[in-house]
């Protein structure tokens, strides 16, 4: 059932992904950087917010005028800062929404990721609270509407005995105390919680993408700047509690539920909001995902080099003091609950080399149901399967549709869990033993790997900048990396294999 929902979601996602994939290379694609982009927009909001704070007056009578001053007198800077503050806040709602949708449809919210998922939910509440209190501080007619509606919403909770909305009935009755409280929540309280919340959201991941690539940051900043200059944010008329605002320019990113407060009732709006949060919170266990066997350490082969721990995308490996009395100081230890069997640790382990004699291919760490030895066996078997010349050995990720297409077209495919599951010496093994003339890696594109770091580590190992690296003697022109968007129905991968074969033919002709 839920798998069906995911797959329908992915078809819609394709509609957005395809045009963007034409405009951006995969690492630069905003869809592959949604969490990091959200954080980047938060930075814009923070920096512009500090500028606004310098000029803002936190009293009911002076707030509006201070914002007007920034917008009109100081339009060249204050006005731009104000617009940046608003538009970046709006932009991050889009990136959060896409971020959540993407994690959901690619099934990246269960097993060990429940923690990221669940800690993401309060972030949304905080962001909305920030947006709402922000609109409040301007103290224009929209602020008046937001203040009264929010008060009605809070009055529906059995917390306050006196009606809060009753505070907003006349300009004389409205106290500065209340306004200062809002300013405190918006300027200090929530931002502190948000920073802590984001840290909590990602701290369990190994090397979370906090910053987007430079070019993407530049694009995002320029986009926001131009929008701010061309279409600056402005206020409505000053709040006047004797009049009810009639038609408002409405920020639908933050205020979309507000019309429901009057149309339904505050109580129903709470039920809706809390209901959505509860459904999201239990989603990782509805139904629980099947757990596969986790990575297992073999102490006789582990020398405590720590490479597996450095590469595990989910921090599932801890280096603990040696327990077997040998001279090594440490050994790897897998935290079962965090491991999702990607095999990246095996690809990092220097002992996982296929050149070892057959009986002894037991690396320091291995996946019981897809062992290093079984991958070597598959390579040998595929090498004996007849194929076109020059022969290309194709490595594909488990589950990926692309791999299936190539296999059906008669390619010599060996599947691994993740491209980084394949220790680089396997590539050397294939080429130096003559099992094939070239190797093609059909992995998931950078930023879209089910195991987060598969493409990063594979590229770095082959480029010989990250341990364990590809041996010097291996000719990298015989290795093609065909990074693909997972599940996407794109450019026939069979053609890519064909093109690579042609390229190999040319280089062979040269020699």
């Amino acid at each position: 059932m839920i798998g069906r929902v995911h797959s329908i979601g992915r078809s819609f996602y394709e509609l957005l992904r395809r045009p963007l994939a034409r405009a951006f290379e995969s690492k630069q694609n905003p869809l592959n950087q949604l969490g990091a982009l959200t954080i980047f927009f938060c930075w814009i909001v923070l920096v512009s917010g500090i500028w606004l704070l310098i000029f803002f007056r936190t009293s009911v009578s002076a707030a509006f005028e201070s914002v007007e001053y920034l917008t009109h007198e100081q339009w060249y800077l204050g006005g731009v800062m104000r617009s940046l503050h608003r538009y970046a806040s709006d932009a991050l709602i889009i990136t959060i929404l896409l971020h959540v949708i993407k994690e959901f449809i690619f099934n990246r919210y269960r097993l060990n990721r429940w923690f990221n998922w669940v800690t993401g939910i309060p972030l949304v509440w905080m962001i909305f609270a920030l947006g709402i209190t922000g609109y409040w501080l301007v103290w224009d007619q929209l602020a008046q509407y937001v203040a009264i509606s929010t008060a009605e919403l809070l009055d529906a909770l059995p917390i306050f005995t006196d009606s809060m909305a009753g505070n907003f009935m006349s300009d004389e009755l409205l106290s500065n105390r209340f306004f200062t409280l809002m300013a405190f929540i918006h300027l200090i309280g929530l931002p502190i919680f948000l920073v802590f919340g984001i840290w909590l959201h990602v701290f369990r991941l190994n090397g979370p993408r906090i910053n987007p690539p430079r070019r993407l940051m530049a694009g995002a900043l320029l986009c926001m700047l131009l929008l701010s200059v061309i279409y600056p944010a402005i206020s409505h008329d000053k709040a006047n509690l004797a009049m009810a605002p009639q038609a408002l320019r409405f920020d639908w990113f933050y205020l979309h539920v507000y019309p429901l407060i009057q149309r339904w009732s505050p109580g129903w709006v709470w039920i809706l909001l809390v209901g959505i949060s509860v459904v999201l919170t239990i989603a990782p266990w509805a139904p629980p995902a099947k757990k596969t066997t986790v990575a297992v350490v073999d102490l006789d082969n582990c020398n405590g080099c720590k490479r597996c721990a450095d590469d595990c995308p989910f921090g599932a490996i801890e280096m603990i003091p040696r327990t077997d009395g040998t001279n090594y100081t440490h050994q790897a230890s897998v935290t079962d609950d965090l491991c999702i069997s990607c095999g990246i640790c095996v690809g990092a382990c220097p002992t996982a080399t296929p050149f070892r004699s057959k009986s002894a291919l037991v690396p320091g760490i291995d996946l019981p149901n897809r062992s290093a030895a079984s991958i070597r066996q598959d390579i040998v078997d595929q090498a004996e399967t007849p194929s076109d010349d020059p022969r290309v050995m194709i490595f594909g990720c488990r589950d990926d549709r692309q791999t299936e297409i190539v296999r059906k077209a008669g390619g010599n495919v060996v599947t691994v869990r993740c491209m980084a599951h394949l220790q680089p010496s396997y590539l050397d093994f294939v080429l130096s033993r003559g099992h094939a003339d070239g190797v093609m890696l059909l992995g998931c594109e950078n930023g879209n790997c089910d195991y987060r770091l598969g493409a990063d580590w594979t590229e770095a190992r082959i480029a010989r900048v990250r341990d364990p690296w590809l041996r010097k003697r291996t000719d990298t022109t015989k290795i093609a990396m065909g990074w693909l968007a997972p599940w996407a129905n794109i450019a026939n991968p069979v053609k890519r294999v064909g093109a690579f074969r042609d390229a190999l033919r040319v280089t062979e002709g040269d020699t």
């Binding site: 951006f24 538009y87 889009i94 009606s163 009639q246 038609a247 320019r249 990113f253 009057q262």
Partner: protein
């Protein structure tokens, strides 16, 4: 080519952000309407009379609990009615807050009415029974469109304030 695509993508993004941050406008109410906001909190009269305790009653009580009279804590529900030019536009019976029904009632109600002249009447009964209104106020108002007229109850002067 790539650059062109990037520019197009960011431009689309900017348009989506720019547009949805102000449009479509939200119409809160008809342009010919005004609002009456009824808001106050009020402690209604208690359900029964206080009873002066006799000497026997007092002797039965522990010394720290002795007091001259015994009053029921519970308060009456508050009946409130708002009329415009004779017809009832809002009425409600509100129970006092608190587990013992001994707290205030809190009223907060927004009522949309057509703009223009109105003969307003507001009455409140907080003594229970059908004895009519304990407090009532009349006012002639001419509401301009969009006006938010607030009706409160002022405990000091024991009367409604309309403004």
């Amino acid at each position: 080519m790539r650059l062109f695509g990037e520019i197009a993508a960011w431009a689309t993004f900017a348009v989506v952000v720019g547009v949805l941050s102000v449009w479509p406008r939200y119409e809160m109410m008809d342009s010919g309407a005004a609002i009456l906001t009824l808001t106050f909190s009020h402690a209604a009269q208690r359900v029964g009379e206080c009873r002066t305790l006799t000497q026997e009653d007092l002797n039965e009580l522990p010394p720290n609990m002795r007091r001259p009279s015994d009053c029921p804590r519970e308060r009456n529900p508050v009946h409130i009615e708002l009329r415009s030019s004779g017809s009832v536009i809002y009425q409600d019976l509100l129970t006092p807050s608190g587990v013992w029904s001994d707290g205030k009632v809190n009223i907060y109600k927004r009522i949309v009415i057509p703009a223009g002249p109105h003969e307003l009447f507001i009455g409140m009964n907080d003594s229970g029974g059908d004895s009519g209104f304990d407090f009532e106020t009349r006012a002639r108002v001419d509401l301009q469109p969009g006006r938010n007229l607030v009706i409160r109850f002022d405990e000091l002067s024991s009367g409604f304030v309309i403004r």
